[in-house]
């Protein structure tokens, strides 16, 4: 639906840069990225609250660039819910329908339906100020649902909820989508939400699309350093490396892989892929710093004898996803089984299956298969 869309704000900020994205009918599409990556702006352009500087946006077959938000048949759930504070829950839910001038009994019927779906019946006569966060969120969803729109837009709807509610609502959202099958565009900065909810995920950074695909594909085959560092928790460990004649070395880590270009590279090791070294594995020394027991596994923080690159979404990744060398920091993270618990301060040797090692071009950050 996005066709080479660019949005430049007055003041020169390029919020969205040449975004092209096709969303299938009935699909649950996630826009994910860190703050300021343009995902919210993209969403608002679909809603009609922002106009693209360049490019077109289509809903169905129609180009909607010039259509005002009212006429686009989209519904939106805001991050702060934007419930009308002076109206009861009933009137909040009924509001969009009344704007369409639907007859009163139709309005009442639909509001009833939605209220049942979201368990809102006992709250009908209350005002938003009297509701809890989770209840308000459901009213916001209800107000969007009641319109039966062509597209559902959600702007970080779960970010204001506490952790437990978030998990509950996530499941609820997934169930709803399964039931209703409305095309949904969902914006979040939380990669867990993205992975669990989306049919497909679009990873954005600085206004540009980094990768588009189903969750598993983004995990298994990240297209570049940015996506690799963003998907997966704890984030992938990325090391500066160099290659020669099919041999990659990063500190004391050695990997044989044919077909790699010579020169500077970036090597990626997922924390969950690291385990106590066994003969024959590419391995590396790991000095243990802190061990966090989680019950079924351990998160071990420490340092590697190599130069690490912080390529997570929090640090600046310049255009082309060139990694910034974070030379002073050599921290890394590994996920180990409780029985392998190392002593803090000790040095252990961690290995990894060679096929689990990701290699990226050092200059562009693009993945090298």
């Amino acid at each position: 639906m996005f066709d080479d869309v660019t949005k430049v704000f007055p003041g020169g900020t390029v919020a969205v840069d040449g975004l092209s994205l096709e969303i299938e009918d009935g699909e649950f599409m996630i826009l994910v990225g860190s703050s300021g990556c343009g995902k919210t702006t993209a969403l608002r352009m679909v809603a009609g609250l922002e106009k693209p500087t360049k490019g077109t946006i289509r809903i169905g077959e129609r180009i909607v660039n010039q259509l005002s938000a009212r006429d686009r048949d989209v519904a939106m759930v805001f991050q702060n819910y934007a419930l009308y504070p002076h109206m009861t829950v009933y009137r909040n839910l009924a509001y969009p329908l009344r704007q369409q001038r639907l007859p009163k009994d139709v309005v009442r019927h639909r509001v009833q339906e939605v209220a049942e779906m979201l368990s809102l019946e006992p709250l009908m006569n209350r005002r938003p100020a009297q509701l809890s966060g989770g209840q308000r969120q459901r009213v916001a969803m209800g107000r969007a649902l009641v319109r039966e729109p062509a597209v559902f837009l959600l702007d970080e709807p779960l970010s204001n909820l506490d952790a437990r509610l978030r998990v509950q609502m996530r499941a609820g959202l997934k169930r709803l989508h399964g039931r209703l099958g409305v095309t949904t565009l969902y914006v979040t900065h939380d990669q867990v939400e993205a992975m669990t909810l989306g049919d497909r995920i679009a990873v954005l950074s600085e206004g540009r699309l980094q990768q588009l695909g189903p969750p598993q594909e983004l995990y298994d085959r990240p297209a570049n350093v940015f996506v690799a560092g963003f998907i997966g928790s704890p984030p992938m460990n990325l090391l500066r490396a160099s290659a020669r004649d099919g041999r990659v070395s990063a500190g004391d880590f050695l990997l044989e892989r044919a077909g790699l270009p010579d020169g500077a590279l970036i090597v990626g090791l997922r924390p969950e892929a690291l385990r106590p070294a066994v003969d024959g594995m590419p391995s590396i020394d790991f000095r243990v710093d802190v061990v966090e027991p989680l019950g079924d596994e351990l998160i071990v923080h420490g340092s590697l004898a190599a130069e690490l690159i912080a390529a997570s979404s929090d640090s600046d990744v310049a255009e082309g996803a060139l990694p910034v060398a974070n030379g002073t920091s050599v921290e890394a993270v590994a996920r180990l089984a409780p029985r392998d618990r190392p002593a803090e301060g000790s040095v252990i040797r961690l290995g990894i299956e060679p096929e689990n090692v990701y290699v990226f071009d050092a200059k562009t950050g693009v993945a090298i298969r």
């Binding site: 809603a47 009609g48 609250l49 005002s68 938000a69 009212r70 989209v74 519904a75 939106m76 805001f78 702060n80 934007a82 009308y84 504070p85 002076h86 509001y95 969009p96 704007q99 369409q100 100020a129 107000r143 319109r147």
Partner: protein, 311 residues
């Protein structure tokens, strides 16, 4: 465990004397802090409130001490045609002034609440009359509306319309005062409304737009209700001020022509300080007070039921 014992042994702990306790006491401090304010307000507000009531039961000419005449002042008031006329003028003025200034300010605030080239200039133009004094307003309008030399009559003349007497016409004078005072006070209402408008979260307006509401529907269903508290405040405030109108009358018409602009406070002034009927004046003041109180309470009661307060 041994540390605690050492602490109590080390400190020289003596129970403070009664005097020291009094000085340190919060009660004394509290009263000391409020003392100047309390004295000033007691002398210049509380005592006058009571004294005024006493005065209204007296015949007093401000020079010699008065003597008590019971409710005679109030009885005279109830029969006084000039008093009733003054009430009438005050009410007419208020009933016109309040809606005109509040609604006008609402419209202006909406107009001024947007991104236009030169919006700063427009806003300043609306605000500046507010800082001019009532005396200046009166003087300037006195001349603007002068029947012979005034700019307004000249404009009417240029348009071929008949000349008006304005402030010298008993039927028009009060309305001219309305115009004059609206001009002087509009800025205040506009500022309050602008602040209230900008307090409405952008989200709500966007949500309403997405929900399919036209600009007008959004205004009516979302903006206006959320401006309720500001509107109530402005209505109450304007009413109270309108009922106390004085300065402009003094500077322009002195209650004329033919008593057409004698409002309550002006009548009070005449009685107390020109005819030296202080007791009578005090009675007028008390009637005004009670009137303002009742009207304000009524407005607040209506407002409570219909205005929704967010937060």
């Amino acid at each position: 465990m041994t540390a605690r014992a050492e602490v109590t042994r080390g400190v020289d702990y003596r129970r403070p004397s009664l005097w020291q306790r009094i000085i340190a006491s919060e009660h004394l401090a509290g009263w000391a802090f409020v003392a100047p304010a309390v004295i000033l307000i007691a002398v210049f507000a509380l005592i006058p409130i009571g004294w005024s009531l006493l005065l209204s039961f007296q015949a007093n000419n401000l020079l010699a001490p008065g003597h008590y005449i019971g409710l005679a002042n109030y009885k005279a008031l109830s029969k006084d045609p000039q008093f009733r006329a003054a009430i009438g003028h005050t009410i007419v003025y208020t009933v016109i002034f309040v809606p005109v200034s509040v609604l006008g300010a609402l419209g202006l605030a909406v107009a001024l609440n947007r991104k236009l080239r030169g919006i700063r200039f427009y806003r300043l133009a609306v605000f500046i009359p507010l800082v001019t004094s009532t005396v200046a307003t009166g003087i300037v309008f006195l001349w603007l509306l002068d029947p012979t030399f005034g700019l307004v009559n000249y404009a009417l003349h240029a348009l071929g319309l008949p000349q008006q007497g304005f402030l010298q016409n008993p039927n028009q004078a009060l309305y001219c005062i309305v115009v004059m005072t609206v001009w002087g006070w509009l800025g205040f209402d506009v500022i309050v409304y602008l602040a209230a408008l900008q307090g409405i979260p952008q989200d709500l307006l966007e949500a309403s737009e997405i929900d399919g509401a036209s600009k007008w529907a959004t205004f009516r269903s979302v903006v206006l209700p959320l401006l309720g508290p500001a509107t109530l405040f402005l209505v109450v405030w304007s009413t109270i001020n309108a009922l106390q109108l004085f300065d402009e009358i003094y500077v322009t018409t002195r209650g004329g022509p033919l008593g057409a602009t004698t409002v309550l406070v002006f009548y009070l002034y005449q009685q107390a300080f020109q005819f030296f009927n202080a007791g009578y004046g005090a009675a007028i003041a008390y009637v005004l007070f009670v009137g303002i109180l009742i009207i304000t309470l009524f407005q607040l009661w209506v407002g409570r039921k219909r205005v929704y307060y967010t937060s």
